[in-house]
Subunit: 271 residues, 2 copies
Amino acid sequence: MDNRPIGVFDSGLGGLTAVKKLSQLLPGEDIVYFGDTGRVPYGSRSRETIIKYTRQDIAFLCSFNIKAVIAACGTVSTTSLDDVAGDFPIPCFGVARAAAVKAASVTKNGKIGLIGTTASIKSGKYEELIHACDPKAEVVGRACPLFVPLVENGRIHKGDAVIETVAREYLLPLREAGVDTLILGCTHYPIIAGIIGEIMGCGVTLVDPGAECAQFLAQRLAESDGLSEKNAGGRCAYYVSDSTEGFSRLASLFLDSDLAGDVKQVSLDTF
Amino acid sequence: MDNRPIGVFDSGLGGLTAVKKLSQLLPGEDIVYFGDTGRVPYGSRSRETIIKYTRQDIAFLCSFNIKAVIAACGTVSTTSLDDVAGDFPIPCFGVARAAAVKAASVTKNGKIGLIGTTASIKSGKYEELIHACDPKAEVVGRACPLFVPLVENGRIHKGDAVIETVAREYLLPLREAGVDTLILGCTHYPIIAGIIGEIMGCGVTLVDPGAECAQFLAQRLAESDGLSEKNAGGRCAYYVSDSTEGFSRLASLFLDSDLAGDVKQVSLDTF
């Protein structure tokens, strides 16, 4: 038994999708969430800067005596987590690894599509993780830098000419490459899974890294006697680096239910 | 005579348009530019966070013994500059004031359109500045949050369905309101002035705040004997908070010529 909370962080609020899944799977666990809303987005920044921010994010969560941390940010999990994880005394789980394992297990034709931020695609991390499962798998990656601002500006509905045009432009080359599995490598992408799925066609399986990672962590904690004593009533505490104003509106994009917990602003300058 | 350099800063690289104009008007002046590329964009963040970042940006530039600073960022000049400027021993010029004066002087029907970031429109600062010049002027504002990511992703060409659709959506209500003058209240917007001008129609005058502010500062320095002794050969030094990699590519969007000066990365954590 381990009653310490689980830490989850993201460059912004997209990582709340992982919190939601984690709360469903393990309703007794306490969770501390940090969203770096004062410095979002990470995906267009340099690797060096992403490493610096990641180190501060995890150091902040460690101040809550957590038992494990999920890097829910696709960019962090591909670009900086390996450089930073060893500096901390707790296990760090990135969403990329769980998604890569899942994608390698569900593909039938060995052709896996990957969409993510510019930094994620550039990192080559998903190829490395997928090839560790299946050396013959072919990975076709595509950076989709406009998806995050479009989702955050509410362009998430079928029939919206802007999101439809951009999505077709990004995705048709992947469809034409014949992938049968597509990793949604950024926490914002599951929000437009309907639009993505329609363009890719019904034969393509979409993989949601946040959900896969939550599932993976739940299994790991169960196997290692690391779960909380409680079976229900886990509490969530939310921290952000920008003002908490507007948090609820954007959070509701990623969580269906109301927030069950306080939201506080924090500065990471000293971490 | 005052041979100290002029400081110019922006949340990112858009403020280079002000540098370009300043170098044309005052080719003998040394300039120190800071672009906060590690924390861009500012326009979607809270006022409190923008104030904090602005204070750090100016404190950093003051370490170069500058004689004046231009806040080339539309968001800073509307949202945080008034709160911060008094803390520093040098004059601080925001692009909004010069643009408001210009717009009030060129409008014939007293209807002025304004486009900017969400923070800029929310601030009400342009209305205040314009009404100080002409209390009867009508200001019609519209936040255009997708323009910055679209420009940064190269969607700047006429005929591009995405930028054309978004621009029409943002601008047609301003055109229908009958404005005869439009303030391009963010440093990225002059890049798509062609598209904006076509939608607004040829009877609408576009005002570029960066260029207006450079002109205003040049006049002020000339009147107060604050110009450099040199008439040519001014040097530019560029600083950014993210990696310098990729700086040239994005900088070339805003500067037609090659960069005449070094680019260095700097951390503002201690400012």
